[in-house]
Every structure is written in C-alpha cells, then in structure tokens.
C-alpha cells in the first residue's frame, strides 16, 4: 500500500500529470472564486474534452479542479461577501467582516491555511481507510448495494438544506428521470413515448450539463444586476503563522474529522460539512458571540471542513463506486465515460489509477495552497468579471460537450430542457444535489434489486437475513422516521418541563 502510494505520488509529480493537476487546480480556484460559476460546472464542461485523453490524466485534471474550486470560493466569500461556491457560505459570515475591519490578508491567509490542513487530514483518512473498505465492499452483493443506495438517497434527502419533503422529492425525481430508455435488467425499452430518440433515455452528461450548467446560466442572467464591489486586498500580507496551528489545532482537527465523516456519507456535499463544523465550533467555543462578526475560529472551521469533505467524499467513490457528494457523481460519470467500471474491484483492476487519484488529491491540496497564496491578489481582482462575457461562452461549451458525447443534436436539446427544469426546481427550493445523486444512483438502485430478485428466484428474504443489507435498511428507516418523531419528542419534553415548573 505504501509502495503503491509512493509510486503514485512520484507519478503525479512527473511533468505531464503535474501539468494537468496544476491546470486543474488553477482553473478550479478561478471558477470557485467567481460567484455563479462552480467547480462542478467546469468538471462537466471539460468531461467531453477528455474523451481522447488518457483516463488517468483526465481524472487527475478533474480532481485538481475539485480541490481548487472548493478552496477558491473563500476568496469571494471574504472579499465580496458572496460565496464563490456553495461550500464557502459559512466563510462569508466571518471572512467578510474581518476583511472589512482591515484584516483581509489575515482572513484569506487563515482560510487558505485551514483549507490545506483540512485537505491533508482528510487525505490521511483517504489513504488509510480506502484499501480495507474496498476489501470489505467486495463482499457486497446485489442486496447490499440496493440497501446502500436506499440509505444514500434517504441520507442526502434528510441532510440537504430546506425541507426533507423537497429533498426526497428531488431524489425520487432524479430516479424517475433515469427511467426512460433501454433498461438493462430485461433488455427492453420503456417510457420512450414512441420516440426512437429516447431509446437511450436521458444521458448522464447532457442532464448534468443542463441541471448544473444551463440552469446556472439562466439564474445568472436573471441575477445579472446582482453585483458587489470587492474589498481590495492592498498590500496586506497573506500569511498564516505556525503559531496558528497551535492556537487553532483542536478546531482544525475536529472540523477535519467532521468534514471527512460527512464527506464519506454518500451524496452529502461540502456545504453541509462546513455548516456542521461551523455550528460545532461555535457551540464549543469560548467566544461564541464573536461568530458572525469576524471570528477566526469560524473561518477555520468552515474552510477546514469543506476541504476535508473532498477527501472524505472520495472514499465511497473509489471503494464502492458510490458518490460521496454531487461533485463525485461527476467523477463517477467520468470514470464510466472512460470505460472504467467503478466499484470495489477498482483497487485490483485499476490499481495505478486509484492511487494516482489519491496522490493527485494530496498533491492537489499542496498545489492549491501555493497557487492560492501566490495568486490571491490577482484572483481577488478578477472575481467581479462581467457575466456577459462568461455565460455565452459557457453555453458554447455545453453545446460542444453534449454533441460530442454521441453525435446527436438530441443531447443538446436535453441540455436546454434540463436547464429549464433545474432552474424551476431551484426556484421552488427543490435541491439539485439529491436530484443528481438520485439520477446517478437510479440504475444501481433498480438494477441491483432486480438482479437480487433474479438471483433469489423472486424472494425478498435475503434482504432481511443478510446483516449488512439489513443494517443499511434500518438506518434509512430511522432517518426517515426521525423528523416525524422529533417534534413529538420535543413536545413531550416541553410538556414535562411545564409540569415541573407547575409543581416545584
């Protein structure tokens, strides 16, 4: 294992992979920093350009974008009070006040340093946990996968922002959208409405381009007048001191573990990690009143956790082929496009590739730290570039990408259609994260259940006699039931307190 990792680290440091990694990290930082653009968009957009690239280089590039974009968001959060990516929402609350109070360099320095620490701590978990997890996952049969996907869908619906009903609705809608077309389980067409164009249903790439990129174009056009004047960084030094490691060490460690753990949970993205870590940091802080007014602890918690989330979310992806966050759903799609079957056997059949991904993640974090520290001044000036230049070009790349997939204009129409769908869903506060995860996992969900039933001759018994499958199911049920029980329990407790007060 150590040898594999060393080999991979050396490989990623050779000129060609390193070039792709640095390109990815730099581009990721830019799209992450510019509000209205996101790393997910960029990954989906470059996917078709990597069709003819070596698959390892393609994944190295995408992981670079992933790491860069999660970090780049902190620049606009700090200087513009707009999160460049959703994962840096919590950073706006303390980063901006601190920058406004004349310490922009300090705020950025803390954010960048925390990102590195969070990324590396999660990297340790990634390296240590992945091989044994993948060995464990090879024992998973269709029942286990079915139950695991059920759990993933419930989990993301339950944890996603806003109402759980809408989270669930989004997830199931995603599952439903993947239904039309040729079905693998019995080799039959369905729900095509008689159109041959729908024989293959809606392909992953055009749907992602629509829901994540086209919908954002529409949204950005609607909000074109939403502009803010960025604070200037001036000549303030952007540094984090080693002493900060001691001062914020506990916070960093705690937030990293939270971020990694939430990252591992299938389907939950970096924004949730940073929210939870921020909340925990405030509740254990000696100065909770400073949170929201420029607290150093707040920036550290948010930025450590969102980068740690990236490493955590890679764990279920490389060990089980289950995306740990919506961004990993894109990486999953990229693997499939490159004819690499994700799953527990990846560590055996594509060992070099998996370790190269892990190495790219580790080196990507270091590269992110260096590039951010050196370039933050320029990026800080660029984040307010007028959207009129960006949006048309982005749609142009959508068209190329969707068409290149299988040379069909139909896929380009799918991009526009799902752009409108994604925009409408977001307006109604139906989150897109669960939608995409549902869409990606739909085939596994249905396929595994039907395979399991074929294997058992139609009996459901094994779902309840296999311990792992049963555990996943019980956890899902508990999460579904929790919001129903919780208010009831709280009422009971209130009732008891009232009673106590009445009878002193």
């Amino acid at each position: 294992m150590t040898l594999d990792l060393l080999d991979a680290l050396v490989f990623v440091l050779t000129p060609v992979p390193l070039f792709w990694l640095l390109l990815g990290v730099t581009a990721g930082i830019f799209v992450g920093a510019i509000p209205g653009l996101s790393g997910g968009m960029l990954i989906v957009l470059v996917m078709p350009l990597t069709f003819y690239m070596d698959s390892t280089f393609a994944l190295v590039l995408m992981i670079g974008i992933y790491v860069g974009s999660v970090s780049g968001g902190l620049i606009s959060a700090t200087l513009l009070r707009m999160p460049g990516t959703p994962s840096s929402i919590m950073t706006t609350f303390d980063g901006y006040p601190m920058a406004r109070d004349g310490k922009p360099g300090r705020a950025l320095g803390l954010g960048i340093g925390s990102s590195l620490v969070g990324g590396l701590i999660a990297g340790i978990f990634l390296v240590v946990l992945s091989p044994p997890l993948s060995r464990w996952a090879t024992t998973f049969g269709p029942w286990e996968y079915f139950a695991l996907v059920v759990m993933a869908l419930v989990l993301i619906a339950a944890i996603s922002q806003g109402s759980m009903i809408k989270g669930l609705l989004a997830g199931i809608l995603g599952v439903a959208v993947a239904m039309p077309g040729l079905n693998e389980s019995d080799g039959q067409l369905r729900l095509t409405l008689g159109f041959h164009a729908l024989d293959n249903g809606f392909d992953l790439l055009p749907v992602l381009l629509g829901v994540f990129v086209m919908s954002q174009i529409i949204k950005d056009a609607l909000e074109i007048e939403k502009r803010a004047i960025p604070l200037t960084l001036g000549s303030a030094p952007v540094w984090m001191r080693l002493a900060d490691l001691r001062r914020h060490g506990m916070n960093m460690l705690r937030s990293s573990v939270i971020g990694t753990w939430i990252g591992i949970l299938p389907g939950v993205g970096a924004s949730i990690s940073s929210m939870v870590a921020y909340g925990v940091a405030r509740s254990v802080s000696k100065h909770p009143e400073e949170f929201g007014t420029g607290s150093e602890e707040g920036i550290v918690a948010s930025e450590t956790a969102n980068n740690a989330n990236v490493g955590g979310a890679l764990i279920p992806l490389v060990t089980m082929g289950i995306p740990g966050s919506p961004m990993d759903a894109f990486l999953l799609g990229a693997l499939i496009l490159h004819n690499i079957q994700p799953g527990p056997l990846l560590f055996q059949t594509n060992k070099a590739l998996v370790w190269a991904m892990i190495a790219a993640y580790l080196i990507g974090n270091v590269a992110m730290f260096l590039i951010m520290t050196l370039s933050v001044r320029w990026v800080g000036r660029l984040i307010n570039v007028h959207r009129a230049y960006l949006l048309p070009a982005i749609f142009f790349f959508c068209v190329i990408g969707a068409f290149a997939l299988s040379n069909r204009m139909f896929d380009v129409w799918v991009v526009i259609g799902f752009g409108v769908v994604g925009f409408a869903l977001e307006r109604a506060n139906i989150p897109l994260g669960p939608f995409v995860i549902g869409f990606v996992l739909s085939r596994i969900l249905e396929g595994q259940l039907r395979s399991a039933l074929m294997s058992s001759g139609g009996s459901l018994d094994e779902l309840f006699t296999r311990p792992i499958a049963l555990t996943f199911l019980v956890v899902s049920l508990a999460m579904l039931a929790y919001p129903l029980i919780d208010p009831w329990r709280r009422r009971l407790r209130n009732h008891a307190q009232v009673k106590q007060r009445r009878s002193p």
Binding site: K219, L222, I400
Partner: protein, 158 residues
C-alpha cells in the same frame, strides 16, 4: 408538522407540473411488457416513482396553499431581477441549437451570432461590452471551432 412554504406560487406551479408528470409516467408504464427474464419487470420502478412523486408533490401543494393563505412573502432581494434576460437567453439558445439542427446555419456562424447577441443583451447593450463580446464571438466561432474540429478531432454539430 406541516410548515408553510416560503415560495408558495412557484411551489404550486412545480407541484402541479410534477403531478402531471407522474400521471404521464403512470400512463406510459401501462405499455411496458409484463416481466420476462426477471421476476419484477420494468414497470415496477416507474410506477413506484410515480406514486411517491405524486404523494410528495401533494404535500408540497398543500403547504404552498397554506403559505398563500397566510400571505407568506418571499424574502426581499437587494437587486433588480431580470426575468426578461433569463427568458431571452433561453430563447437565443433554442434559436442557436435549432438553426444548427435544421441546418439553417453552420456551427461557426451560428456560434458567432449567438455569442455576440447574448453577450450584448446580458451586458445591457453597453458599447464596451459589445465590443468585447464581438471579439469573444469571433474567437469561439472561428478560432475555437478550428481548434476543436481540426486539432482535437472533436465532432461538432452541422
């Protein structure tokens, strides 16, 4: 447990659309052949999804109706939204793709026109922005087309 929705009007439109979609899925699933080669068949999942979607969409609908009655207002926003531009961009995109699909315009020309027009509109027909947009249009429609088609061998639309 039911809390009023914060975006009642949009919710009602989306919920009703989803109910219609669930109905369509249910209707179409009747044409799916009975199970063969496997015990469950292809109709089970679409039907289950249709039922769940209609149930959840009904809940959303009820909450939205409650929100309307309570007069819940969406939070105010500090900028002027531009629905005209949002619709305009979608329309331009449809024209762009339609022109290529119907083979009215070739990829380079369609691209240049689309990029310039949408850039100009998004920039409020500001002269400086229009000049830059024209440059981007030529770069993408001309340069990028050449690069992708002749250097990277990526197939482009008509």
């Amino acid at each position: 447990m039911l809390q009023p929705s914060r975006t009642p009007r949009v919710d009602i439109v989306v919920a009703v659309t989803l109910l219609a979609l669930a109905g369509l899925v249910w209707w179409e699933s009747r044409r799916i052949a009975p199970p063969f080669f496997d015990p469950l068949g292809s109709a089970a999942f679409p039907r289950a999804a249709a039922i769940l979607i209609s149930a959840l969409a009904t809940v959303v609908l009820i909450r939205a109706a409650m929100g309307l009655r309570l007069g819940v207002r969406p939070p105010t926003i500090p900028y002027r939204p531009r629905p005209d531009l949002a619709i305009g961009v979608v329309l331009l995109a449809v024209l762009y793709v339609g022109a290529m699909d119907l083979k009215v315009l070739g990829f380079p020309w369609a691209t240049m026109i689309f990029v310039f027009l949408s850039g100009a509109a998004l920039g409020g027909f500001d002269r400086r922005i229009m000049a830059y947009s024209a440059a981007i249009a030529v770069a993408l429609g001309g340069g990028c087309t050449y690069l992708l088609r002749d250097v990277f061998y990526i197939d482009l639309p008509f």
